[in-house]
Symmetry: C2
Subunit: 460 residues, 2 copies
């Protein structure tokens, strides 16, 4: 090697060391969680919907892992989000109500300030963090995202049907009143400040998406955590002009197809910025479809019931994990829960799990990277603060059953119903009589689990 070429090599090394530290120490991976609101198990093309077109999510699924047995932590918005953000069953944080199922406009509580969100945990490792979309974990100042570990918040404090101007919301508000925006008085916040009220809900998905892309651009040189909980397809439904009458499935389809577009925008941004190979993107929904909203609600596909229910349709969700080069394409049938996103995110970022509390989430990394399996054996189905059902392996025992938003009283089963979910995903055939040892085993698990539950202040 000549003297000049040696010199050039040293210069090149110094330049590389200065401007591309990633060459020498792998940058911690970015994490993006995209959450739909009230999207059903059967609402995407890749989950078998006959008429809704979701090419971006279908492609994401084809390039990543599509889960068939992914559950959320609760069957309605608030507790589901509390579980996702903290990795703890909502009952542990007071986020499982007794009379109310979610935080209402009049609720003074929220996610307790001593709870640790994914964002708060990741900040300790220098992550830039943003929540873009619907929060619904408390609207008093101390509970807002910017007080729970997020550098930036752009979105609604709660559901888009929670601030109607003219009293009671008509059942089919979303279809018959569209586009009468004046019914709704949602406030759009930026950090702790109201930016717009009433919010133009029809441009919200587009504006959220622009904010998400801006956040990615601004933070491409440092690890980031983007939590992107969409407002839709929760009613009232609104789509931007580009997506109105876009779908054969009517306004509900328009809204889902705009969400699909949004996912495509995020993935394309990551690809273009060269970040895709260092970013885990996870897509799911907060709970099942709101069936009582008729055509303004979604479809649970082959599953029973929807939002508000502890039948499968209420809590089993479409879920896709995407990370080019790290995650290999697959359909995954293992038992997974949204709580596991907390633990997995912390593990990916190299953050130790909080030692002072019960963490229910499990590390999904071996399963995601094809080196192992889901460690999850148990799934607990709560309705408000009561345990209604438990899945262990492929069996699910129902202690109490209740149709989503039925006015009938819940039915308590002294002898639990039992379904084998892999054989009978629609929960049609009770097999308790043939499997007494399975029922007994699940009841033992319930007893064990209940020992770990400590009474805390309810937040609703």
């Amino acid at each position: 090697m000549t003297r000049i070429s040696k010199y050039l090599l040293v210069v090149a090394f110094l330049i590389a060391a200065t401007f591309a530290p990633g060459v020498f120490a792998a940058k911690a991976p970015n994490i993006v969680i995209i959450l739909a609101d009230d999207l059903g198990y059967g609402d995407l093309g890749c989950y078998g919907h006959p008429s809704i077109r979701t090419p971006n999510l279908d492609r994401m699924a084809a390039e990543g892992i599509r889960f068939t047995d992914f559950y959320v932590a609760a069957n309605v918005c608030t507790p589901s989000r509390a579980g996702l953000m903290t990795g703890r069953w909502p009952i542990r944080s007071g986020m499982a109500g007794s009379t109310n199922d979610v935080l209402r406009v009049f609720s003074m509580g929220g996610l307790p300030t001593n709870e640790i969100t994914i964002a708060a945990a990741l900040k300790s490792k220098g992550y830039a963090t943003a929540c873009i979309g619907k929060w619904h974990l408390g609207h008093e100042l101390q509970f807002l995202p910017t007080h729970h570990g997020f550098d930036y918040f752009y979105g609604l404090r709660f559901s888009n049907d929670m601030e109607p101007v003219r009293g009671k919301i008509p059942k089919n508000a979303s279809s018959s009143l569209h586009p009468k925006l004046e019914w709704w008085n949602s406030a759009l916040l930026q950090n702790d400040k109201i930016l717009e009220q009433p919010t133009d809900l029809s441009t919200l998905t587009r504006r959220y998406t622009e904010e998400a892309i801006k956040f990615i651009h601004q933070n491409k040189k440092q690890p980031f955590f983007l939590y992107f909980p969409h407002t839709f397809p929760h009613v009232p439904l609104f789509a931007s002009d580009a997506f109105k009458e876009h779908s054969a499935r009517g306004l509900y389809g328009d809204v889902v197809e705009e969400l699909d577009w949004s996912v495509g925008q995020v993935l394309n941004t990551l690809r273009k910025e060269g970040l895709a190979e260092n970013t885990l993107v996870f897509f799911t929904s907060d709970n099942g479809p709101w069936l009582i909203r008729d055509l303004a609600g979604g479809s649970a596909g082959p599953l029973k019931d929807g939002k508000g229910s502890t039948w499968e349709g209420g809590m089993r969700e479409p879920a896709i994990a995407w990370w080019p080069g790290k995650i290999k394409p697959a359909i995954n049938h293992e038992l997974v829960c949204s709580l596991d996103l907390f633990t997995t995110s912390l593990c990916l970022a190299g953050v130790a799990l909080p030692p002072d509390r019960v963490i229910d989430g499990l590390d999904m990394r071996p399963m995601l990277f094809g080196t192992g399996h889901s460690q999850r054996q148990l799934m607990f189905y709560y309705k408000k603060n009561e345990l209604y059902a438990v899945r262990k392996g492929s069996f699910k025992a129902h202690l109490i059953t209740h149709t989503g938003y039925s006015k009938d009283a819940p039915e308590k089963h002294d002898s639990p119903l039992l379904f084998q979910l892999e054989n009978d995903p629609g929960e049609r055939f009770d097999v308790a009589a043939e499997n007494p040892e399975v029922v007994a085993d699940i009841l033992r698990e319930v007893e064990e689990f209940n020992k770990s539950i400590v009474s805390v202040q309810a937040q609703y």
Copy 2:
């Protein structure tokens, strides 16, 4: 160019002309139709089934066109197959029964000998033809496949539950009696001769597959038509040893996963023989899932009802078209019917449509090759020989409704029910009152269609 190189060019040309006629005149394409029996709309991975694993069909769908709105010609075996084979609504050929819905063991009739099957039509252009699997278009000698245009037949004459040895078939025969083969006395035919009776049903899918592969190998140098109608997942269910307890979905899943394996074997053979780029492979089922068979029956996913019904679950089927290099990957939402396979096959082979009869099938080629759309506007839903419902565009009017195998009388609707299927695939919301002009238009279509129906001898 030198004299020697000119000479070499001529030699090369002569060799090419002798051994590779395909270079100069494209060989007519091969056509393979694979038909499952009683498989439901929701039973494949790519149509959203949560636990049945169908990697070969999923891959076929990812490489080809997956249809969301593909219909069969009838809601039970015999008339559905008659429609597929002739391109004519079964009512035209006497293949729509009045009391019986399918040909029974005691039936003396069959597909009339003057009907023209795809096989008979393609033979006129030198196609090798085989029917491997279940026929069910007449078991008297003159109605067998070998008398209807097929060079070769290997399979059962009718359904696998039609020759029980001990009288009435128990409802859950398929699960509780498996593997008690002695209940069933099916005859396996090769051409016109009984090869085996009782047939070992557990090895049937494997043996059909071996026969199909052998037929492809033997005919790789000439155009061929392979009609491959599987016996399963019609009850009683049997899987070969390699697939017993293969599936989380129990025996039904085992059987479907073995079918999936079989499809993979056929496609792999075509790939290995270099035939894939000159072969259309079409996969579908004869009718919806047999829901009254409980766990031995399949799932219609988000659709209503199943086999025997004119609700969507009875007649809308999984359908995949595959032809590497010719068909581009897509999800297709257009209205298509199994009748169209007749017309499309004849067009691909360069055979003129029979001029002496009504052909209801339409040419799918423009849609398959991405140069146009489905020409189909209308779908007629018969139950036996009565017209129950009609789809035009995205609207479906029900003149009569009846749950699949219910003992209740069918319900006649003086004023038809109307559903918008793209918006409401589950047929939940009757929109007749809001769309009187659509109902009137469909009733006019019915009147027009009925003029084309000529009374013929019923075959059942």
